[in-house]
Amino acid sequence: MKARFLPLLALALAGAVHADINVGVTLSATGPAASLGIPEKNTFEMLPTSIGGEKINWIVLDDASDTTRAVTNTRRLITENKVDVIIGSTITPNSLAMVDVVADAEVPMISMAASARIVDPANPKTRWVFKTPQSDSLMADAIAVHMKANGVATMGYIGFADAYGDGWLAEMKRSAQTAGIKVVAEEKYNRADPSVTGQVLKLVAANPDAILIGAAGTPGATPQKELVARNYKGKIYQTHGVANPDFLRVVGKDGNGTVLPAGPMLVYEQLPDSNPIKKVAAEYINAYEKKFGTRSTFGGHAWDSYLLLNATIPAALRKGKPGTKEFRAALRDALETATVVATHGVYVMTANDHNGFDNRARVMVRIVDGKWTLIK
């Protein structure tokens, strides 16, 4: 009798002591940022369900690209699901709005959005916040360097009238100034605008040596096609936001020759075997493409956040039980000192850099015959 109940009792106790690790995710799978959020969401569906021998519950919520819902989701994940860490959101405004909530609750957060402001070390609240994607500034610098090397003296900018476009414009102006490139025209457009003729005419009239399009996904093709139609002869640059196959499909032959910075995973096949990122990216992309078709670099940000957790959770487990304050604090500390090879680059986190990416996290890519081609 006793013998029969003991294991049950042990199991029950173990259950109480060894709580699962709850990871809360809020991302923008619908709304204007859906093309970014969907591959992220797909990626969360293929993640393993245990890390370091502990069961992981991935609790994925959609915030519809809306700030209020991102905050509501975050609060819910913290108070209802007692999550140990939060991943998200997809876009910068949502992530910024979440910073206060996670800082108050002392839950580590890993954002998948672009702006460096999310992990601004000057803001004490970002102590709890990390982020996986390359910051705009890193990518903007790469573009400026490439422009400079190719004799570009003046540039124009056209980008989204949203946080993504604004962020890029600000960073690009800074990088261009450092490189001695003059920004002679800046234009904005909405993601779903049926026409950008007005903006493009103005850009072409300013006749810059190069034009950067600050957009994400297929909408990036709209100004590009218009520029080609208006016989713009300068160089066209895009951002890493367009790095998905749908962009190539929509932009068609008008995209050839375009240069953009991207995470190395986009062209991992073309990386030298010596690059440690190649293996990591191959593993992820093979699994993703088997299940969902073609790769998107945004899915890589989600996978990288998993890789970060995979590397840090075992250390945190030694300091506290999941579900406790100690565990969350230990996880934060572990994240702050993590060094992880990921699909987009190599994270070397420090107290002052909660993104941890360096030049290994960007490659320059050119579209050649409708394919991404690494510029060596």
Partner: protein
């Protein structure tokens, strides 16, 4: 305690007690429900009651939120000071927008609200000082007496304190002198204006009130979220607020709370509806290839579909359905009170009303052609003629409902051509309408009390703060007396729309009487009345005359007209055909020709 109050008390107790025992996330949702309720409440008043559809409330929420965020982060002022500035700013913007857009009629208004809602939204995103599309971080938490409200459970009390105060004041407002006038706006301005309501101005007041509620909600939102960016203030959110009001039931203040609760919880439930969504997904996967079925994203589809079904079942919103379970509050008893002050009359000589060559042309059609006649004080004059002769148009020329094309109308020695209808009402002309214009859902008593609008002075603020009870008691007592005099005491608390059409016309007379006019214009008062009721009406008109009232009436019932009037004016094709004593008119061959040989006798 009556059951209605009990239910209300239970709601308050539940709302206030919730943070003490409920899980944290309930409090989070409760906070948002409170914020949305405040905005939806403004829409109930503006759209549901006053009939002015607005998609732009989210922009006002944004004004409140951004003003406070900007002032507190850039100039480190106290959020409470920022609230005052934000509300003042919101009111100023609403006043300006209301001034230009509320003149618009029909469908222009909703579109105008979309237009300025959209422009404000895009402005938020493009002003660098407001953080652009990315938004502003670091908005401070509120402090009360030096105590920071960072805790959501505490913040809950602030939000719901504001929401309950808004509910209380809106409810007060609806049950008052300005409230009755606001309700009267929905059927068009004509009726409200006839009782001295400056409809255009009142619309703006209501609009500003709704905007202020939205601004308050925005301020609370900014300091709860401690971050603002443009997305929560866009057109889609504006539509969602309207959604809440309509789904909840835009006719009642409780509809706002119900709608905000329902929409918030429905969205949350759909997002979390694990079991429901799994069943759906498995079901779809059974009939469709798995690659076709999305991993989720059913929420939006389900949300839309459920709301269509809900509105098909309850087009008036959910509150009327709920209200059946909440027993109606008994109307407060009518206590004797001294009469309202009488309107000041101006002494004058000669005819009370004089038309001199009054003309009204609609494009090429001349509806009233150089009509002249006069009415002496204390007379009962009938205006008769075949259908389409221009009688009702003449009424509208006298009451100011239509502008004169040429000629003159003189009342009590003063020319009133070009004077707006609400000022003409104030001069002492009361009227009823050919097509009954009552507020069908409102009680007979309240409908009649609207007539006393010009004899009261309660404004929106004192009504909202319930400082109007003394005047209100006098108004109610006087309305009850008028209703009794017209023989409708049995229907005092019935909804006006539930009465037979003939009786509704009598309600209109009672309402006109309450304005204590010198001249009473009655448009077909006897239509739809039975024989006995007509006799009572005659008696009423005679007793009014005995008190010195002057009456001009349009009527098709010839027996009634001949019996009650002293003099008749006959119109045909917009012109005066004849004028004289009833007996003379009866024997006038031209009149006989017009009636019997006319096109539409």
């Amino acid at each position: 305690m009556n059951p209605g109050r009990l239910a209300f008390a239970a709601f308050i107790a539940l709302a206030l007690g919730m943070p003490l025992f409920a899980p944290q996330f309930w409090v989070t949702l409760g906070n948002y429900i409170g914020l949305y309720s405040i905005v939806a409440l403004g829409l109930v008043l503006l759209t549901g009651v006053a009939g002015q559809t607005s998609f732009g409330q989210a922009a006002f929420v944004g004004l409140g939120a951004y003003t406070s965020a900007y002032l507190t982060t850039k100039y480190a002022v106290s959020p409470w000071f920022a609230l005052a500035v934000g509300l003042a700013f919101t009111a100023a913007v609403a006043l300006f927008l209301g001034f230009i857009t509320l003149r618009m009629r029909g469908h222009y208004l909703p579109l105008a609200t979309i237009a300025w809602g959209a422009s404000l939204y895009y402005l938020f995103g493009n002003l660098e000082m407001l953080g652009g599309h990315t938004g502003m971080t670091g908005v401070p938490a509120l402090s009360v007496f030096g105590f920071e409200l960072r805790n959501e459970r505490l913040y809950y009390y602030l939000i719901w304190g504001a929401a309950l105060a808004a509910l209380w004041s809106t409810n007060n407002l609806l049950d008052s002198r300005p409230g009755r006038a606001i309700r009267a706006l929905k059927g068009g301005l004509e009726m409200a204006q006839a009782f001295g309501v400056n409809g255009a101005r009142l619309k703006i007041v209501v609009f500003v009130y709704a905007a202020l509620l939205a601004g308050l909600s925005g301020w609370l939102y900014a300091h709860l979220q401690r971050f603002v960016n443009p997305t929560p203030f866009g057109i889609h959110q504006g539509i969602e607020y309207l959604f809440m009001a309509v789904v909840g039931g835009a006719g009642s203040v409780w509809g706002a709370v119900l709608g905000a609760t329902l929409i918030t919880l429905l969205k949350q439930w759909l997002q979390e509806g694990g079991a429901l969504m799994t069943v759906l997904r498995d079901g779809l996967q059974a009939v469709l290839p798995p690659s076709v079925v999305p991993s989720s994203n059913f929420e939006l589809i389900m949300f839309g579909a459920l709301l269509v079904v809900l509105l098909q079942r309850a087009p008036e919103g959910l509150w009327p359905w709920f209200a059946r379970f909440v027993p109606r509050r008994k109307p407060p008893p009518i206590v004797p009170a001294e009469p309202l002050p009488q309107r000041a009359t101006r002494p004058h000589e000669g005819a009370l009303l004089q038309l001199k060559g009054a003309r009204k042309a609609f494009g090429g059609l001349i509806a009233v052609n150089d009509l002249s006649f006069a009415i002496r004080p204390g007379e009962i004059v009938g205006l008769i003629g075949p259908n389409g002769a221009g009688k009702t148009t003449t009424f509208n020329l006298i009451s100011g409902g239509l502008p004169l094309t040429s000629g003159e109308v003189v009342f009590a020695g003063q020319p009133i051509g070009g004077v707006p209808p609400w000022e003409i009402a104030a001069l002492g002309i009361g009227r009823t309408f050919q097509h009954v214009k009552l507020i069908p859902m409102m009680s007979v008593l309240d409908n009649v009390a609207l007539g006393a609008y010009l004899r009261g002075s309660t404004g929106v603020v004192s009504a909202a703060l319930r400082l109007d009870r003394a005047e209100e008691a006098r108004t109610r007592a006087e309305a009850a007396r008028a209703i009794e005099r017209c023989g409708l005491s049995a229907h005092l608390h019935d909804a006006a729309g539930s009465l037979a059409l003939g009786k509704q016309r009598i309600v209109e007379i009672a309402r006109a009487l309450l304005a204590a006019p010198e001249l009473l214009l009655l448009d077909e008062p006897a239509a739809g009345l039975r024989f006995l009721e007509k006799q009572e009406l005659k008696a009423l008109l005679r007793s009014l005359q005995a008190e010195g009232m002057t009456i001009l009436l349009v009527e098709h019932d010839m027996d009634f007209v001949m019996d009650v009037t002293e003099r008749l004016v006959v119109m045909d094709f917009g012109e005066k055909l004849a004028e004289g004593l009833p007996a003379e008119i009866q024997s006038n061959p031209q009149v006989r020709e017009a009636y019997l040989g006319g096109v539409d006798a």
